[in-house]
Structure formats: C-alpha cells, structure tokens
C-alpha cells in the first residue's frame, strides 16, 4: 500500500509518501518521502501567521511539493493506493487548499480519499519513529493552537482528558516571546535563549486548577510575565531576558509534565508520548524524561521535524484509518474547529 498525505492547516505546505504492508501495526511502515515547504520566513515580518497570505502561498506551492514528494519517494501517481489530507482543525482557507488538492487526486486517480484530524496526526508521528509503540498510552499534544492531554486507548479510539481553558501552550510561548522582544516563532526562540538563563530566577505562577483536573491554563502565567516586565520597566530595573524566558518556560514545563504523568498514573499506562510543535522544546523533553524515569514511565517523542507540522503524520493516520474505517466522503468539508471526540 502506498499512501500520499497532504497537510496545509497552518503555515507549512507539506506532502509525504508512506508505504505500508497492510497490517494494523506500525512495524512495517516505511516513510518514503516527507517534504515540507515552510512559510515561517514569510510570516516572520508579521509576527505570526496571516491567514490570507498563508492560503495564497499554499496554492502556489502545493503542486510542486506534491511532485517533489512523489519524486523523492520514487513513485508515480498510478502507484498510489489512497490519498489523505488534514481537514481540521486549522485556518479554514489554508486547510481548504490541501483538502481540495487531495480530493482532486482521489477523483482523478479513482482511489480512496481519507480526511485526517490534525491533532490525531500529531500523535501518530510517534508511530513513524517508534515502530514498537502500541496503544494504549497517554499523549500530550502541545502546539501553537492546541494543548490537549489525550488517552489513546486504541487506534482511532480516544479520550480527551484535558485541554486548555484559555491560551494554548505554544501561543503563550509566542506572546511572551513578543513581549520579551524575541523572534517569531516564539517557541524555539525561548528554548534557545533560556539555555543561558536561570529557570529559578523568577517564580512565575503555575496554574494547576482544581484537584483532579487535567485542563491547562496559561493566560495567567502570560499576564504575570507581562506584569513583571512592566514593573521592572517602570522601576528602571534592568531585566535579564534569558532569566525571564527560562523562568517562564520552567512554569509551562512544570505544569505540562505534572499533568501528563498524573494522567498516565490515572490510566495505569507505563507509556507517555509527546506530540506537536512544543514537543520539540528541549526543556520539556528533558524534564518529562527525568520525572517519568523516577516513576518507571517510558517517554516517546518524535524527532523535531515530525513534531512541527508535517504530512508524514497525516499519511500515518490515513493508513490506519483506511484499514479500520475505510475512506471518507468526498464532500467532507474543512472543519476549522474540529475536535477529537
């Protein structure tokens, strides 16, 4: 089986080709190509993604990226078994570009089309790099638009244990980075500058919310950093950007790690996985690994290239979904606020 996948939910135009044996297991999967055309440079001047600019860029880029992915995989269109694409959540104009391209391919080649949930795809990036990983496990999906703690009971069977009540983790990184005068995207910028800072310099608040809750809240933390900066500024105090960045990052990581491990213990699973752009954060990986080890919990995460938006993860969901549930209808609409349950 050869599955092509398309991802255009935000600012990356991505296409990948995956080969599978047809078994319901990640063991025989072989990622043949994974092409990502990033728009980060384009959006950096705006300090974030501008939807209309993103959509237009996707339109210009999608065909060349499809061609490149096929070429790199050493396959041609008639070799493709099925085509998968993200249909949400994401920016509606951006999602539509990849979704329409996928449907067009499905019709032209007379092959199945599979609509993929972007959050589910992030989790499945783990299967591509850990062929022995099997459900059930707890997965923390953290990115610019999402902070979800999910129990992956089986392929295609999920329970959302918690989600953000205000800002997504990556959004907090972006906004605090902007307040600190750092570059977009904020996640990598804070990760980098924090390496030279003291994470205990400022004790920013951690929002654990009510006991037993797996939800997140990062808005209060963001406010606290902004207040700290304003006070320092009006008092003429000199601030250390590395110290504040590291202290902010520590507060985010602390809550993410704590809730993820509590969720693993509630679900009696010895495995937790990370996914999404923020999963590339070095401090989060390190801290989760250390604290999980103390409890005998195994931690999996994808390499950075499969954490940020990519289409390899879309092909992976496409593969399992085709085997389990079959194809999606061709009138499947783009769904900007699609949820997992």
């Amino acid at each position: 089986m050869i599955i092509i996948g398309i991802e255009t939910s935000c600012d990356e135009t991505a296409v990948a080709v995956l080969e599978g044996t047809g078994d319901l297991s990640p063991s025989g999967l072989n990622l043949r190509s994974n092409i990502i055309a990033s728009q980060v440079k384009l959006h950096r001047q705006f300090g974030g993604v501008v939807p209309e600019v993103a959509s237009r860029k996707h339109v210009e880029t999608i065909i060349p990226v499809i061609e490149k992915a096929l070429d790199k995989a050493g396959v041609t269109l008639p070799d493709i078994t099925a085509v998968s694409a993200t249909y949400g959540p994401g920016l509606v104009g951006a999602v539509l570009v990849g979704l329409s391209a996928a449907k067009a391919l499905a019709v032209a080649l007379n092959i199945p089309f599979i609509g993929v949930n972007h959050i589910e795809a992030h989790m499945y990036a783990n299967f591509l790099e850990h062929p022995h990983l099997r459900p059930p496990f707890v997965c923390l999906v953290v990115s610019g638009g999402h902070s979800d703690l999910i129990y992956l009971r089986d392929y295609g069977d999920y329970e959302v244990l918690g989600r953000t009540r205000d800002d997504a983790a990556g959004e907090a990184f972006d906004k605090v980075a902007r307040a600190l005068g750092l570059d977009y995207p904020g996640g990598p910028a804070i990760d980098e500058v924090s390496k030279g800072g003291n994470p205990s310099a400022v004790r920013f608040p951690r929002a654990f919310l009510e006991a037993g809750s797996y939800d997140f809240s990062f808005s209060g933390l963001k406010t606290s950093v902004v207040n700290y900066l304003a006070k320092a500024q009006s008092g003429g105090e000199e601030i250390s950007v590395p110290d504040i960045a590291a202290s902010f990052q520590e507060a985010v990581v602390d809550v993410l790690v704590d809730k993820t491990l509590k969720a693993a213990s509630k679900k009696h699973t010895p495995i937790v996985a990370l996914a999404g752009g923020v999963a590339a954060n070095s401090r989060l990986r390190q801290e989760l690994y250390l604290r999980a080890q103390e409890r005998g919990v195994d931690v999996k995460y994808p390499s950075p290239i499969l954490c940020t938006d990519n289409a390899a993860m879309v092909t992976c969901v496409g593969y399992f979904q085709l085997l389990l549930k079959g194809s999606s209808p061709l009138d499947l609409p783009a769904s900007p606020s699609l949820s997992l349950e």
Partner: protein, 160 residues
Amino acid sequence: MFVIKTFSPEETRRIGELTGRLLTPGDVIGLIGYLGAGKTVFTQGIAKGMNIKGNITSPTFTLIHEHMGRIPLYHVDVYRLTTPADIETIGIEDYLYGDGVVVLEWADQVLSILPDERLDITIRHPDGEDDNVREIIIKPYGQKYEHMIKELSSIACRGD
C-alpha cells in the same frame, strides 16, 4: 462613558457576565487592552451572561471561535492581523452585520472596519496598583449602546 475598577480576574469576569446579559443579536463589542489585560477573561464572562456553555479559549490561532447559545457569540481575535485589509479577508463583515453578538479582541488595530455603533471596552492595569487590579472603561457609540451602559451601570452599582 462608564468606568469601573475590579480587583481580581473573577470580578472582571463578573462585569463581563453582567454585560453579556444585556446583549442582543447584532451587537458588537470591541475589546482593547495589552497582553494579559483580561480580554479573554472578560469574554468568558460575556459568554456566561449569554448562557453559553463550554470553554471560551483564546481564538488567536484560528481567529474566530463560534459559540452557539440563545444568541450566537462570535469571538474574534485580530492579534495577528494588523491592517484592516488583513482582517477583511477573513470575512469579518458577515459576522459584524450578522445575527449574533461579535466580541472582537485587539479592536484598536482595526477600528476603521468596525461599525459606527458599538461598545468599546478598554481594560488596563493602572500604574502602581496591585497586579490583579484592572480599570475597565466602557464607551458607547450610538443610542442603543448608551442605553445599554446606563442599565449596566445601575446593575453593576446595585451589585446583583
């Protein structure tokens, strides 16, 4: 104009809730305030006042969140859009002149595309005050909204 001071996020949310109870289809609220001022907190209150269930999270990433209730609430965040031309491309007019209530965060970035009649709400942290103190400045444009803030100020002062 009506100015009210709150001493905690809960109080800010409460003022939002009282405002939310007075809203009717077609109403537009522009929220203005720096990062962390409490715009999303205020919107959470509005949603409660409109009897909308579910989490009100920041729409920064997807720009518009639609919440269905007695009246639909369209929660818009133009943080990442700095020019009116950018925001027009997301089809904002359909919402502004539609059947629901529009709450638009970072309204000061796109004033020229907002309807002449609306309620502008500025939330700020007064210099030198405790971290949780906020000054909420509610400014009506048009007769309908002038009536609304008269009612709001009487309810808010009664404290029920």
